[in-house]
């Protein structure tokens, strides 16, 4: 397909232009047997699912990031990995994704093609297939360049049951590496900070990492990906749902120097910055070393470390500062806003 020019309302009209866009660009990029059947729905054989576990996991997420492209990825990589990770941290093996595009007229075809390519690559890396989808084009101002929705299904193997309410005193908290990279990369990519920082998104699929963790310890108590709201928000959910407190040690938190630097300048807290390839696991102390060892063998878990522990309490996250004090890490009331001075 000729990629010069932009997407117009005609590409969403149901006529020839739309067929060209869907068949010659989207379907060709994502190609797989289920998609090639060309029906209005993907028809997935049940037998293959049943063989892999005893529960179906089903999730959806919408992606509206600005800018569309940023160091280390784009909205397409987010749309695949985000949904893959939402399945993975439930213990599911992600299998099939749907994909809905809402495109604002005027988006360049070349940009759209690049985003589709990134989605295909991310899907292949995660081992999932995009089997059904939808495309709409809206008038200028009706959306911000491109919105993507993906939904996904996966199968949960018998015996794996992580849940936000299962943290127990004595458990330890593990993350799989550097915190806040994605949030910092996006802030930086927006360009209005005029900061010269070299920060890439951490966007990555976590399903193989979770497989390895499950193999090392089938009794992982809590597991979540730390996306919007960051580590602090996930741990507050765990703390509240489990009725325990979390004690974090500031000196054990893995935060890159450029991310720390950016937060210092803007008065932001890296604990609330978004991640797109980070999970938080709460595991029994006895299994902690085995889980850590298993994680470090997987690229996405190479920098895994223990950052704190679960203690008795009633739902708080407490940070022991490297300086020697203590403070509460609460949920944010809203978006994090930079401070004046």
């Amino acid at each position: 397909m000729n990629l010069s020019g932009t997407i117009t309302l005609a590409h969403g009209s149901g006529g020839r232009a739309m067929h060209q866009l869907v068949d010659n660009l989207i379907r060709q990029t994502f190609t797989n047997p289920l998609l090639e059947e060309g029906e209005d729905q993907a028809r997935i054989p049940l037998a293959g699912l049943v063989a892999q576990g005893d529960r179906l996991a089903f999730t959806t997420d919408s992606y509206v990031v600005t800018p569309l492209e940023f160091p280390g990825g784009n909205i397409g990589t987010l749309a695949i990995n985000g949904t893959v990770n939402d399945l993975a941290v439930g213990g599911a093996t992600p299998l099939y994704l749907s994909c809905g595009f809402i495109i604002e007229e005027g988006l360049s075809l070349e940009t759209f093609a690049r985003i589709l390519q990134a989605m295909k690559l991310a899907a292949d890396e995660a081992g999932v297939q995009i089997v059904t989808g939808d495309t709409k084009v809206v008038q200028r101002g009706g959306a911000d360049k491109l919105f993507i929705n993906t939904a996904g299904v996966g199968v949960i193997p018998a015996g794996f049951n992580p849940s936000a309410g299962r943290a127990q005193p004595g458990d330890v908290v593990i993350v799989n590496g550097w915190l806040g990279d994605h949030g910092a990369a996006i802030l930086n990519a927006r360009g209005d900070l005029a900061l010269d920082a070299d920060i890439e998104t951490d966007c990555a699929p976590l399903n193989r990492l979770v497989d390895a963790m499950f193999a090392a310890c089938p009794d992982i108590h809590c597991l979540r990906d730390a996306t919007r709201g960051g580590l602090a928000t996930v741990l507050n959910e765990f703390a509240e749902r489990s009725g325990v407190d979390f004690m974090l040690k500031e000196e054990h938190l893995p935060i890159r120097t450029p991310v720390r630097g950016m937060c210092e300048i803007l008065g932001l807290d890296p604990l609330y910055l978004a991640n797109e390839g980070k999970l938080v696991a709460v595991v029994p102390l006895t299994a902690a070393q085995a889980v850590l060892t298993a994680m470090k063998r997987i690229p996405a878990g190479r920098d895994a470390c223990i950052i704190g522990e679960v203690v008795e309490g009633d739902g708080h996250v407490v940070l022991q500062t490297a300086f020697g004090g203590e403070r509460i890490v609460d949920m944010l009331p809203g978006e994090q806003l930079p401070r004046i001075c």
């Binding site: 209005d192 120097t257 708080h316 403070r327 609460d330 806003l337 401070r339 004046i340 001075c341």
Partner: protein, 402 residues
């Protein structure tokens, strides 16, 4: 990070904390050195002891600046101090002293057709009587968050057919940057740029606190960034006329501990001086270029109402007549009247004024944590993370734990 981590060294902190404890125990011989427990236990103990020993009240030290309040909470510094030292969180948070009526003015300007209203991020959530700027933005106003007034100027250059207004807010820290931006606009002959000036000066605000009959303060930590602009001399009246020792202080946790140690030492030795802990940044005479820009552009208002402080006379700042073309108040006909802010707050139960002046703790306010909380802030002290109520709200949760 170079030049940051050095000022967060726990070993040096421990030493300073020990020295502060030693000084304090010398002044309050009956109080034993306290072993480290949870901040909550300490907090409730300090409340108890305040009630029990009214004759030997703890030292009350006001950190004037919201940036200092932020450091105190971020590093849990209060949990490291002896019972006999109590921090009073001052009004040096520009967002917190902003009257609701001023936010209403901002919204009214933003609602004018063709206006791009630009502001620092933390003013976005401050409640007005009608709405906050964040709500105004959601309702369709073009409100943009910028990191510097110069960014607002760039927006004005790019949008010659729109009126770009920058919300000039803050103490002397931000005044040079807004003044220089205005002067730059003047040099370029930009006709579509103006400042909505709500600056306020530090020494006059301090004087207002010092003349409060309810107040019982033993000394000040003075703001480092403000002093970087104005220097040390403008604080002389604090020691000379009001006999309160004062230490100009930086923003890293070791800065605060060292300044506290210096201040407590002054009190222990019966001295009363303006000392400069932040000498690596603050020159005695301040920043001449910045001060010149301020004096060129700004003058004091005759009357200014600030939230929690009431009319503090000469603390408010306005744009000089010579630069009236860049004054949003004049451009948009905003009457900068002394709207009584307390009635504007609606909820009569709020005690923002008492908390701001340090005569009441946030948790003594009947609305604290109930109708006024970080999700639905009624008072501005609950809005900014520098506001003492927001900080106490998060911190106070610890109390439920014990």
């Amino acid at each position: 990070m170079k030049y940051i981590d050095e000022f967060r060294d726990p070993a040096k902190a421990k030493k300073l904390v020990e020295e502060i404890h030693k000084l304090a125990s010398g002044m309050f011989p009956s109080t034993p050195l306290r072993e480290r427990t949870s901040p909550v236990a300490e907090r409730s103990r300090s409340q108890r002891s305040r009630r029990e020993h009214t004759r030997s009240q703890p030292l009350q030290i006001m950190e004037f600046c919201g940036g200092h309040t932020h450091t105190l909470f971020k590093y849990g510094i209060e949990s490291m101090l002896p019972d006999t030292i109590e921090m009073v969180h001052g009004p040096g948070c520009p967002v917190c002293v902003l009257p609701m009526a001023r936010v209403d003015d901002c919204v009214a300007i933003a609602e004018q057709p063709g206006v791009i209203f630009t502001t620092f991020g933390d003013a976005m959530r401050v409640p007005g009587t009608r709405k906050s700027l964040l709500q105004a933005k959601a309702d369709g106003c073009d409100v943009r968050m910028v990191y510097s007034p110069m960014d607002a100027l760039a927006i004005a250059r790019k949008n010659p057919d729109r009126e770009v207004v920058f919300f000039a807010l803050g103490f002397e820290t931000t005044m040079p940057s807004t003044a220089l931006t205005l002067l730059q606009a003047h040099r370029e002959g930009l006709k579509n740029f103006s400042l909505f000036c709500n600056h306020i000066t530090t020494p006059a605000t301090m004087r207002a606190i010092l003349t409060d009959p309810d107040l019982r303060l033993d000394g000040f930590l003075a703001p480092g960034h403000v002093s970087m602009v104005i220097g040390a001399q403008p604080y002389d009246f604090v020691t000379r006329d009001y006999h309160k020792p004062l230490v100009i202080t930086g923003f890293e946790p070791l800065d605060i501990l060292q300044a506290l140690w210096m201040l407590v030492k002054q009190i222990a030795e019966g001295r009363c001086e303006v000392e400069n802990q932040y000498a690596r940044i603050v020159p005695q005479a301040g920043n001449t270029a910045g001060l010149n820009a301020i004096h060129e552009v700004y003058e004091t208002r005759e009357h200014s109402e600030f939230r929690g402080l009431g009319n503090i006379g000469d603390a408010g700042i306005q744009i000089r007549e010579a630069y009236a073309a860049y004054d949003a108040e004049k451009k948009f006909g905003i009457p900068f009247d002394a709207a009584p802010f307390d009635s504007a707050q609606g909820a009569g139960s709020l005690k923002c004024a008492e908390v701001l002046r340090g005569v009441m703790k946030p948790w003594d306010c009947p609305a604290f944590g109930k109708e006024c909380n970080p999700q639905m802030p009624l008072g501005a002290l609950m809005v900014s993370p520098e506001g003492s109520c927001a900080a106490y709200y998060a911190y106070g949760k610890l109390a439920k734990r014990s």
